[in-house]
Amino acid sequence: MAVAEGAEPLTLAGEEKPSNPWLDAWRLFRRNKAAVVALNVIIVIFLIAISAPLLTRLEILDARTGEAARHTINPVNLPQVDSYPDPLTCARDGQDQNPYWCSWLSEEALLEVQNKYCFRPAPDPNQRQWCYLLGGDSSGKDWLTQTVYGAQVSLAVGVLGATMSLVLGLIYGVIAGFYGGRVDNIMMRIVDFMYGIPYLVLVILLQVFFTEVARTYQGTERGGLVGFVLDLNSDMGGLLFLFIALGSLSWIGMARLARGQVLSYREKEFVEAARAVGASNRRIIFVHLLPNVIGPLIVAETLAIPGYIFTEAFLSFIGLGVQPGTPSWGAMISEVRTRGGFFSNRFILIVPSIALVITTLSFNFLGDGLRDALDPRLRGT
């Protein structure tokens, strides 16, 4: 058929760039330098966290036998001192005569570092000085190893917390927004009620409760579901309970956002067109609403990740987060309060703090970039 009467010029560019909203968003995202850098930083942190056991090579001499033994995260049998200094501190304090052992590096690199900092074996095993690349705490934990393993906890809390809150909030909000009326009213009053509960206080109370339960069952013969959950929790270093505590309230903000989004799209004409065609509710939700609703939610969730990471760090700092022995940046920072603390080794505070700042800043920049790319209101479509 000929082109209709007086139709607008039908331009058909020869080779058109494939354009769909997600691809366009990616193009826009790539234009935001800060966001791209942040994304790369996050990828690197992820890789470090995943390959932590490969990266860390913590060999220390057993204080009693004098032989090299491998300790992954938590060394045992090291003499209690104020803190284990880093090579620079050693050198500055004139202790460079004695420190001779370092962790972290391959043997060749270790030799190099040792040479560089004039490390020498101590003449007498009983007077050994210990020295780590970034120092260590009073019980001899290597701070670099701790930081690398700490990334696992922070990222797990951030990403899983966000995913959990996104899924719960999305399901809840979409149901409330889509079905509307009384369902919406009751569901949203529940959310309003939960919004009134102080988030941090509830999380702390839950953690206190969980640790108490764990302590009660400790050492006893346990089975069934409680035993399984407790085992799982301790296998995860206390993270399971942390997830439950964080997830119990974090979804409500997301539910409100999802509901609002669904409400605004539910009345759009393309949804009405789908209805006029006879599309089912399921099709309308999954084909028409979700793809439009999900963008702002992902943005909000990315921007919420630093909050989860900080909450975990805070809880671990006050001793209600991960189980003792699980490396976590918050727990590391709390070492400042122990013997020696900040003044014997500045890295005790500085290293985990910088790690925390870099990670949370990266997620913030990533969220900003995603918002510019995904939020159609800012794009004017």
Binding site: M1, E5, P21, R189, K268, E272, A273, A274, A276, V277
Partner: protein
């Protein structure tokens, strides 16, 4: 002028023997009402009032014609269209399609009915899902009704796009890459996918540039000829309605005040509201335009929550008399094919 006189001539439907001769009634709307409840209360809501968006509308649409539905914003034109299509469930009244009652249809039978009646929307920017490609949008009705294989659907989509004057190569593109007029064509292709015979066009051109309006109207007319479509054309552009429609119904505050054939209505408007409405249309002739007397209505449209007693129009009517404040006028055939609801006309 009294009720007694008008009653014998009153029928529930604004149609005439003269016009209806040999014409098949496609859609028959009888005393259609759509009230939107206003609720109050925190958890246990009760209905405190209702917006009477459509308050007893009756008309017939004949096969192959274009019936215009005009009126100012908020008078219930769009609600009427959507209620006919069962996008809103009517509060009461009946809608018959080819003699079959459709207000009580549910589930599968309603879905099958939807193949017959489709809608074109006002806002070409809101009526296409921005996350779907043109191909998916146009194919959606086919997918929903499970028609054809993937290949057959693709062919049908290409055919539909050509039919509305778009290049079939556009299937991979997304709505934001198109102009308003092109989007409206995409929406049209979607509503034609299921071969409907009745289309409710809800102000399909009012969001478009004037130059594009003509194209879309011509396209609508061409498709009507080719496919034998019947339109309910909702608009507030009176000159476009005159050009396009065979008959015109004028709505005011949820009720139809006048129905007549297009030329008859424009040359001989009987209801004071219709007269005021038509007097607002500018005439492209300086000599006539100079002498054109505008009837300026005083006041605003009353709230549809609480319409006035008697005639809906009595608050603004320049010729109202006592009875207008007492009894509601019935829609009466005063001339062959010309129905008016006014106490002063009879």
């Amino acid at each position: 002028m009294s009720q007694a006189v008008s009653e014998p001539r009153t029928s529930s439907v604004g149609a005439t023997a003269a016009y209806a001769d040999g014409k098949e009634v496609l859609v028959e709307v009888t005393d259609l009402k759509k009230y939107f409840p206003i609720k109050s209360g925190i958890l246990f809501q009760r209905e405190v009032a209702a917006v009477k968006a459509v308050d007893g509308v009756s008309f017939k649409v004949y096969k192959g014609e274009t019936l215009g539905l005009v009126g100012e914003s908020g008078c219930g034109k769009s609600t009427t269209g959507r209620t006919i299509l069962q996008l809103y469930r009517p509060t009461s009244g009946s809608v018959k399609y080819r003699g079959q009652e459709i207000t009580n249809l549910k589930g599968e039978s309603l879905r099958r009915m939807r193949r017959e009646m489709q809608m074109i929307f006002q806002d070409p920017y809101a009526s296409l899902n921005p996350r779907m490609s043109v191909g998916r949008i146009v194919a959606e009705p086919l997918v929903v009704h499970n028609i054809g294989t993937k290949k057959e659907r693709e062919e049908r989509v290409a055919e539909l796009l050509e039919m509305v004057g778009l290049n079939p190569y556009f299937v991979r593109r997304y709505p934001h890459e198109f102009s308003g007029g092109q989007r409206q064509r995409i929406g049209l292709a979607r509503s034609l996918a299921l071969n409907p015979s009745f289309i409710v066009a809800d102000e399909p051109i009012s969001a478009l540039d004037v130059s594009i309006q003509a194209q879309v109207v011509n396209l609508l007319q061409r498709l009507q000829e080719e496919l034998g479509l019947t339109y309910l054309f909702i608009a507030h552009d009176l000159s476009m309605v005159r050009h396009l429609c065979d008959r015109v119904a004028v709505m005011y505050l949820g009720k139809i005040v006048e129905i007549a054939e297009s030329e008859e209505l424009y040359t001989n408007p009987l209801h004071p509201y219709t007269q005021a409405l038509l007097s607002a249309v500018p005439v492209p002739d300086p000599a006539v335009e100079e002498k054109r007397q505008r009837i300026i209505l005083k006041g605003d449209v009353p709230s549809p929550i609480n319409p006035p007693k008697g005639c809906n129009f009595n608050t603004r009517c320049p010729v109202s008399i006592d009875v207008c404040f007492e009894t509601e006028p019935e829609l009466v055939e005063v001339l062959p094919g010309h129905w008016v609801a006014c106490h002063r006309v009879i």
